[in-house]
């Protein structure tokens, strides 16, 4: 109840906000509200994109809004109220697909809007398969992979099967509380050919098989919801291994010096990128900013501040050292060949159909 009231009043609040906002933006300077995830991630964007852009365009002020986690719901609420105040939003690929289906974000012509690679390769080829929706401008490749406590395990886990092996690797684990990734991992650990994972999951028997595999570790799993939780659980020694975003693990290992190591086997790639809400303010300026912030150099620059792989192929050779720690970033990238021996790019189309259904099934399974 509390939530639904809050969300519905949002529409009205947004209406009020634009009423006042309209007066404020009449001044000469353009204020771009850019929505992202906050924390280290927004900081990396601030340094790699926002600051150089504002320096080159003194009349533009970029305002960071850290509410990307509620982005999907808020874009819809703003659209229904007819007052979209966000200029540009950072979203994961699956959200972009949903929003694009709903007609809430703009379709764009990638080659017309974005800079080609330095050698002239058009943007659509440089980004390649990562353009998973006509509304989506990829920015980074991140992965969900495993971290484990070196000091608490007698030997290092090397494959995804080890996560499900309670005898060889006793202790609690932490997994994200959603079916995505976990079902795929369960099947691969159970011996399913990774190429056929989605074919197997298409059948009821396949889903039962995945849940049966998860049953083996169910009572030893602490489920996480927020990206910061798994590394915290590892650091506290609450769990011995955990699935987590690779950037969070990098921060825990390299910046906070925790006794954690990474296990990259069957890491799942996911994408994060920009989407433009339909009817948002300052469209021209947004396009100018996008062209700048997604060019080859800028995408490579972001990797100096956070260990996420740039989405352009042409950016990879330009990735250098961490801006503060001075360590080479390339070996920490999920796309680094050494780490990317076994990877899964999850099937967005398939999950767009099955997510609601399997989330329900997953939650019922959790409650049993």
């Amino acid at each position: 109840m509390k939530v639904s009231m809050k969300q519905s009043t949002l529409a009205i609040a947004a209406a009020a906000a634009i009423g006042f906002g309209g007066i404020g933006t009449a001044s000469a300077a353009t204020e771009l509200v850019i929505v992202s995830w906050g924390g280290a991630y927004t900081a990396s964007q601030q340094k790699a994109y926002h600051e150089p852009y504002m320096e080159a365009n003194p009349d533009v002020t970029i305002i960071n809004d850290d509410s990307a986690a509620e982005g999907v719901a808020k874009i819809r609420a703003m659209s229904e109220a007819g007052n979209v105040t966000w200029a540009l939003v950072d979203a994961v690929a699956s959200s972009a697909i949903t929003l694009c289906d709903e007609g809430l974000i703009e379709e764009i012509d990638h080659d017309a809007v974005l800079e080609p690679a330095p050698d002239g390769t058009p943007a659509s080829e440089d980004f390649g398969d990562l353009i998973v929706s006509p509304c989506f401008i990829p920015q980074i490749v991140y992965s969900t992979t495993f971290g484990y406590r070196e000091d608490l395990l007698s030997e290092a886990p090397t494959s995804i099967s080890d996560v499900f092996d309670m005898e060889k690797f006793p202790g609690k684990r932490s997994l994200e509380r959603k079916p995505i990734n976990n079902l795929e991992w369960a099947l691969i650990a159970d011996g399913v050919d990774p190429d056929n994972v989605y074919d197997v999951l298409d059948t009821d028997e396949g889903i039962d098989r995945a849940f049966a595999k998860l049953d083996a570790i169910k009572d030893q799993v602490v489920w996480w919801d927020k990206g910061a939780q798994p590394t915290q659980l590892l650091a506290d020694g609450e769990v011995v291994m955990a699935s987590a975003y690779n950037g969070r693990l990098f921060a825990a290992i390299e910046e906070e010096d925790q006794p954690i190591a990474m296990m990259w086997d069957w890491q799942v790639f996911d994408l994060d990128g920009w989407v433009i809400p339909v009817g948002g303010p300052h469209r021209e300026e947004v396009m100018k900013y996008l062209r700048f912030a997604t060019d080859t150099q800028r995408l490579a620059d972001q990797a100096k501040f956070i260990s996420y792989g740039p989405a352009r192929e042409s950016s990879a050779p330009l990735v250098g050292k961490h801006a503060e720690l001075g360590i080479e970033m390339a070996p920490h990238m999920p796309t680094n060949p050494e780490n990317a021996k076994n990877t899964l790019l999850f099937n967005y189309e398939w999950w767009a159909d099955r997510q609601d259904d399997l989330t329900e099934r997953f939650n019922a399974w959790l409650a049993q």
């Binding site: 109840m1 509390k2 639904s4 009231m5 519905s8 949903t98 509380r177 489920w223 019922a364």
Partner: protein, 411 residues
């Protein structure tokens, strides 16, 4: 009795007072309008979504009326004219970027609609008659009668499917209503858990708050002010800070477990699981909601003259009897107020359970939040919200019957 111009005095008086009443009404009118616009309208708008289904008939404007007339009982596909209408709707919907909304809407009913619509929408403008064959050639699903039955079922302007989903009922393609298998049922269980945990939290708050309030009400004003600040201090601290503090205290490698292992009460392998489960939710929420019980109890106890207890003892009652017969009945109104406050707040709580609830300590509001902000299934979120509101109103009704709402006293 009449006035000078002959009208009865009663009528004249009423007329004069009516004007005054209107004036008073005009004074509160802005506030009334404010509450109406910012509170009631959005809430009802949101709750209305639990039955609203405009999206299908609006976007499938040609197909929906034809489907409603189509007789689906003989197990045959709809006639060619329905396919022709669908072609027109897909073509228009693709150009206006609306057709995929219907796909997502229908995907709530049966997984697969989302990609079926996406796949079909792109090509619909190139379809040549006969359209039935063109659709089936694009995807076999269009040759299944059930696909069209689902569409027919949801072609009306209103739907009951969100409520059925919220009550763990299955809803067949032609509208057969059944009970969902245990593999998929979640919400009834969650409603029960939410009510039980809220009740438990209310009782625990009462047990803890009663002696505290008694102490506050009986010590000198100077001491009680100091103690009251101790009660209120956590109240003023950020909710997230307090919840995180509980995590640090209760987790398996946390302060309390370390202490218990240190003094040898439990072994290192037998550390207690006190967080990321229902226990964690109950402990953290009891702490957070305690002031809501202490304050009404304290303000009611403050008004009970100490002479009552003295009189009771003077008349021969033992302290226990005096407490049960004299003091306790005088505090019922405070217990009622505190109890209702804590219970109603905890029934809608979601931040704390989300952080410390783990699997069996999450409440129904966590799922409402999920459907609002993640799955975007606002219809289902609204249906869950309406059911929760209904439950609260029913409980409130019984509370009024048993205890009486007039007995409630906030201070």
């Amino acid at each position: 009795m009449t006035t000078a111009d002959g009208t009865p005095l009663k009528v004249s008086l009423a007329r004069a007072q009516r004007r005054l009443k209107f004036r008073a009404f005009y004074l509160v009118l802005p506030l009334f309008a404010f509450i109406l616009i910012t509170f009631f309208v959005p809430v009802f708008d949101m709750l209305f979504r639990s039955v609203e289904n405009q999206i299908v008939p609006q976007i499938l404007e040609k197909t929906a009326p034809l489907l409603l007339e189509w007789d689906d009982r003989d197990g045959e596909l709809p006639p060619e004219e329905v396919f022709a209408a669908a072609k027109a709707d897909f073509e228009k919907g693709y150009a206006e970027k609306t057709i995929l909304k219907v796909g997502r809407r229908m995907n709530y009913e049966e997984p697969g609609f989302s990609s079926l619509f996406r796949k079909t929408a792109r090509r619909a403008k190139n379809f040549e008659p006969p359209y039935k064959e063109a659709f089936i050639e694009r995807d076999d699903e269009w040759g299944e009668v059930d696909t069209w039955r689902y569409l027919k079922r949801e072609s009306g302007a209103f739907t009951i499917s969100y409520y059925l989903a919220a009550l763990d009922m299955s809803y067949g393609p032609s509208g057969e209503i059944g009970v969902k298998s245990d593999k998929r049922a979640i919400y009834i269980n969650l409603f029960q858990r939410t009510l039980m945990l809220s009740l438990l939290i209310t009782v625990l708050c009462f047990l803890l708050a009663y002696p505290i309030s008694y102490l506050l009400a009986t010590v000198s004003t100077k001491t009680s002010n100091l103690l009251l600040i101790l009660v209120l201090l956590p109240f003023w601290t950020s909710l997230l800070v307090r919840t995180s503090a509980w995590i640090a205290l209760l987790q398996q490698e946390g302060v309390i477990n370390d202490l218990l292992v240190g003094i040898g009460l439990i072994s290192d392998d037998g550390r207690l699981a006190m967080i990321h489960n229902a226990t964690g939710t109950v402990i953290a929420m009891t702490h957070i909601l305690l002031p809501f019980m202490v304050l009404p109890l304290y303000s009611v106890m403050k008004t009970i003259p100490p002479t009552y207890m003295r009189a009771a003892k003077n008349l021969g009652a033992t302290p226990t009897k005096a407490f049960i017969r004299v003091y306790f009945p005088n505090t019922i109104s405070g217990i009622g107020a505190g109890g209702i406050l804590v219970f109603i707040i905890s029934i809608g709580y979601y931040i704390t359970p989300a952080l410390v609830g783990g699997v069996d300590g999450t409440l129904i509001s966590n799922f409402i939040a999920y459907h609002i902000s993640q799955s975007l299934n606002w219809g289902l979120a609204a249906a869950l919200g309406v059911i929760l509101l209904g439950l609260v109103l029913v409980l409130y009704y019984f509370y009024d019957k048993v205890v009486g709402i007039d007995n409630m006293k906030l201070g």
